[in-house]
Structures are given as structure tokens and as C-alpha cells.
Symmetry: C2
Subunit: 147 residues, 2 copies
């Protein structure tokens, strides 16, 4: 496998509203999407754009807030009440090839590929096998560069 | 302030050697710098490049390993023995203006600006004031886009 673009950094938050205000008023973000629910993942999501080099799109920040009682990020927020860095997401050209690659290396892929926040297939790999970082692998959207 | 480029994601590791092998052999990174010591910061550092859009430089991964007995990341590694995401670093055009901005908002800036891993002035802001994320602010290198 060849390292792909760092699509986004997932940042868990106990309050989407407060986090959006922080990125807008403290960090000076100007491109912040409307938050939306991803019930299948148990999270509410909002992307904050950062500028890349030469006018390109940079790595996004994906704010994630627990949605529903069974949200997989309740535990993270319980351990980190102020929120914090939750996962790193890299793009790949083919999600099934990527899954076979990680599984071939004995990495613990968490579930089958499913539709993620950008509308393409994604899966997560367990942090214990990934240098301590919960890692999301995402198929690059066909329409562009995964933004 | 206007949101700057996400220069790098700091990832703490108990073993620089194992982390470099991970990014090279599992994630497929091809541009990995030689590790070097930053004694003033108490860390050993290695940058892993990720590709940006259209051939630009993407956000880097800064691997940091404790250096010396007083390393500020000993506590993080004690809490996260496998390592993990440690900080996020944004570029700004002027480090002193940025410091005045954050202090004017009542944010806890940790120490005076000092030379960071890219050779320009940097400071950190306490995570409690920054949406739960330890945040590094770095002056963009004059020679280019902070890479």
C-alpha cells in the first residue's frame, strides 16, 4: 500500500455548538459545514476545512459528538470530558484492497466497509495495531480529492 | 486570526524505530526524514510526509519520542503506553501576533515562543482552553509553505 492523503483528523467533542464556536472565533476557520447526524455510526458530524498549500484543500477536522445512548464515542468523552483527538483518516483508491492489505498484515479491522461521512466506504482499524492511533481508511470520492 | 495550514499532527511514541517501521511497512509512507533530537523540548523527532492534493505537500506526521528524564511527554506515554495523537500544529504568518491573539482571548499560552522542529518560532496553548486539544502554533518558514 502507498500512503494516501490525510483526509481528516477526528476530534471528539461533548458539545458540537461549543466546538464550532471555538474553531470559528478562536482559530479563525471560515469554512465550517452544517452539522449532520450519522445514526449508523452513532455520531453527529461537522467538517471544518483547513487551507492546504497553493490554494488546495487541506486536511479537514471532523468534529464528532455522541449521538444516541449507544454512541461508540461515549467512552472516549467519559475519559476525556473536554474532548480531544480521536482518530486519523487516510484516503485509499480501493477500500476492499485496503481491507485485504491490513488483514493480511494481521491488523484488526473493525467491521465491514460501510458508508462514512463523505459518502464513500470506510472502515476503522484498532489502535493497538496502528501505532496507538485509531485509524480510519476511506475510499477517495470519485468526484474529486476526497473533500 | 485566520485559520492557517495544518502543518503537522504530533504523534507520541514509546519507540521511534517501531513507529518508523509502522509508517513505512504498514501505511506505505515513502518520505520519512532522519530522526533528530530536540533537547530543548525533551523529544526526539521524525517527520513523515503525507501527500496533499494535486502534488502539494500534505499535513505531516511528527513522531515524538521522549528524550531524557525530564521529557514533557513521559506522562503522556505513561497514560498511553502504545503512544497516540498528542497535538495539532497550525501555521501562522507572525508568531508574536498569534501569541497576543490567544492571550487576548484569555488562552493559556505555555511559555515564550521558541525554535521548533521546523526551525521557526513556536508555542503551545493548553488543551483545556483549546477544545481539548494541545495546540501548537508555528510561524510559517519564510522559504516556503512550512514544510
Amino acid at each position: 500500500m502507498k500512503l494516501g492523503r490525510l483526509n481528516h483528523i477526528g476530534v471528539a467533542t461533548p458539545s458540537m455548538e461549543a466546538s464550532i464556536a471555538y474553531y470559528r472565533d478562536v482559530m479563525g476557520a471560515t469554512k465550517i459545514c452544517e452539522p449532520f447526524d450519522l445514526p449508523a455510526q452513532g455520531v453527529r458530524v461537522c467538517f471544518v476545512d483547513t487551507p492546504g498549500e497553493n490554494g488546495t484543500n487541506g486536511t479537514q477536522i471532523e468534529l464528532i459528538e455522541p449521538l444516541g445512548e449507544n454512541s461508540p464515542i461515549h467512552g472516549f468523552i467519559a475519559k476525556n470530558p473536554a474532548g480531544g483527538q480521536h482518530h486519523m483518516c487516510y484516503e485509499v483508491p480501493d477500500i476492499h484492497e485496503a481491507k485485504a492489505w491490513f488483514e493480511g498484515l494481521g491488523k484488526k479491522v473493525l467491521g465491514e466497509p460501510r458508508i462514512g461521512a463523505h459518502g464513500t466506504l470506510i472502515f476503522f482499524v484498532h489502535p493497538k495495531d496502528m501505532n496507538g492511533v485509531l485509524t480510519e481508511i476511506m475510499e477517495t470520492p470519485k468526484s474529486g480529492a476526497g473533500h
